[in-house]
Symmetry: C2
Subunit: 364 residues, 2 copies
């Protein structure tokens, strides 16, 4: 037996830009056309964006190849939708010189991002996120994915965007429940990374809920800085980036167990409270901390207790299917204080006994 080595060269660092503004949607298409003039464009959006008038506001009167995901939402986040997108791109004879443009919420970004990552082995994408959750979180960082019949994001890729454009004005037409649920990711950012940001949210939560542009822009700024900082340190989630999963291990299980009746943000709110209870069990709590978190969630209007109809053993089974599970039980992200993730032996996600989690799920 003899051996050969194949060298895979290094990949250079690069960067992409997040542009944040108020009422910029109508001017973005010209900018995208100018910045990517060499590439064919293919827009992916969903029927909610069409009915809200955002697609028309974005594209103007020009004719652009567009795929409209229908129905909007989590039920379309599967491989069949990706296949339909890929085949629509093929029918339009698009090649590798194509730019995918995702206009929509987290689901649109996840689906379009994954489609871009696999179309002919990968084409670039720009994101124009239109929901609180997408603007705060999912459009930044390059995570893409769709669900299998068994679990969330079973299919996925890390596929960093070429650019992100955030118009906070589109949030003013967002459905109230969606808007509120999306704020949970902002609270999560504050909890894991920035104590001052938590204070800002606490003081300005009424203005946020009234969707005041200046407060929303400020919030977008905080969110993007926090998210970008974590992603830069660990772009493919080997360790540190896992902190962004705060509240998500239980959250994902709750979301699935509810049959996606609960929105992602609502489920993560429950997951964050569960994390708080686990912190108490593990001696990581501080007086009053969990109450402050419960209070802000109450103001936002998201659930802070486990719905009675969710079976605990089903939740435990779903937690075992978490994609970060190692030896069939995932690690958990916990905080030691507001703005500070609990890090043990250099690990940002730590072992928690299954008993402790079952105990917490049983009592709330």
């Amino acid at each position: 037996m003899h051996e050969l080595e194949v060298k895979i060269p290094s990949v250079e660092a690069r960067s992409y830009r997040i542009s944040i503004g108020n009422e910029i949607l109508g001017s973005l298409w010209d900018r995208i056309e100018a910045d990517y003039s060499r590439l064919s464009k293919f827009v992916v959006t969903d029927e909610n964006l069409v009915s809200a008038g955002h697609l028309e506001a974005f594209l103007g009167r020009g004719s652009v190849l567009t795929f409209v995901i229908s129905p909007a939402g989590e039920t379309s986040k599967n491989i069949d939708t990706v296949t339909s997108i890929i085949e629509a791109m093929e029918k339009a004879y698009l090649g590798r010189d194509t730019l995918v443009v995702a206009l929509g919420g987290g689901t649109v970004g996840d689906i379009a991002g994954f489609a871009a990552s696999v179309f002919k082995r990968g084409v670039p994408i720009v994101h124009v996120p239109t929901t609180t959750v997408a603007q705060a979180d999912s459009s930044i960082g390059g995570k893409t994915g769709v669900d299998s019949s068994i679990s969330k994001n079973a299919f996925g890729a890390f596929w960093h965007p070429a650019a992100v454009y955030i118009d906070v004005a589109v949030l003013t037409t967002l459905d109230d429940r969606q808007f509120r649920a999306g704020l949970v990711e902002s609270v999560k950012h504050a909890l894991i990374a920035d104590n001052e940001y938590f204070d800002f949210l606490q003081s300005n939560i009424e203005a946020v809920l009234e969707r005041k542009a200046d407060v929303l822009e400020k919030m977008a700024d905080y969110n993007c800085k926090i998210k970008a900082g974590v992603v830069e340190a660990d772009p493919t989630e080997k360790n540190q980036r896992r902190m962004l999963n705060y509240g998500h291990t239980v959250g994902h299980a709750v979301e699935a167990a509810s049959g996606f009746e609960l929105l992602h943000g609502e489920s993560v709110a429950i997951g964050i409270i569960a994390a708080g209870l686990i912190e108490s069990e593990m001696g990581l709590s501080e007086p009053g901390r969990l109450d402050r978190i419960r209070k802000i969630f109450e103001k936002i209007g998201v659930p802070i207790t486990l719905p009675a109809n969710l079976a605990e053993d089903n939740l435990v089974d779903l937690i075992k299917r978490d994609k970060k599970a190692v030896n069939k039980w995932p690690r958990f992200v916990l905080i030691s204080r507001i703005g500070k993730v609990y890090c043990r032996d250099g690990q940002w996600a730590v072992e928690v006994e299954q008993d402790v989690v079952e105990n917490v799920l049983g009592k709330f």
Copy 2:
């Protein structure tokens, strides 16, 4: 409007090992277990490998999670098979700490490689290629993909393996037509990169067809060195790597137009002859070159003319759908002499008028 930058750090160079030997299949599993002891293993293979006894020879008596693709071959190279693999991995509660092991030909490697690249945003894979085409070509270089209903490899990713193990002894049980068709990629390597290798193949073609181990090992060596050299220079096919597509632009179209009645290698043989005819039209031919190529293909026993039942306009339509197409007509790789790709203005794939291609397809 204001802006933030997100930095994506550089990715370090790495390398992987290709191990080549004769009758090593039975000892590989222990080595894989030792080298990747920390990871769960998931084997992907197909029913041909099972019936040939190779799976059993590979795994011994141990019980290992295995997915057997059925039916074997191109018809299973689609997203439904990938979905079945992903869901089988989920049902086994596998996490990101999983090593996918692909035992099989090019189709198995492409499917398993793509599944590994998307499973929970990517897990490592090792390839144990078992056909002439997989050993010479597809197991090295990180290209993965599955077909859509419209074209080949419409879904795909660049996903470099962790290691490749080549046992030339498994070729001795390979179906004769498969064996012969796979040799076309070896001829292609010689044509684009190594004039001496072409002479070697010409002189030793009888021994190759008798599947003599020493000649097959020598061939594996030439193939891996050539392929590795090209991949190292351009791992994600921005330019130079395109030379590996010699004969493939017409070849892929022929393969699809035949409804996959023709094997990949058989189609590429036709594509290489088509490239030779295009070279003649463009003044790149040398006296006797195309005859030498025709002669070696005749000895191998692969077609050198277009089957009469393939409609020319259908071929042109399929060529337009080539994944490397820019502005809906792909560039072509051509050679200026044996062992030397024709490179114009730094481009390894050059523009050829659609008329020229139609003309060539019309006359052969």
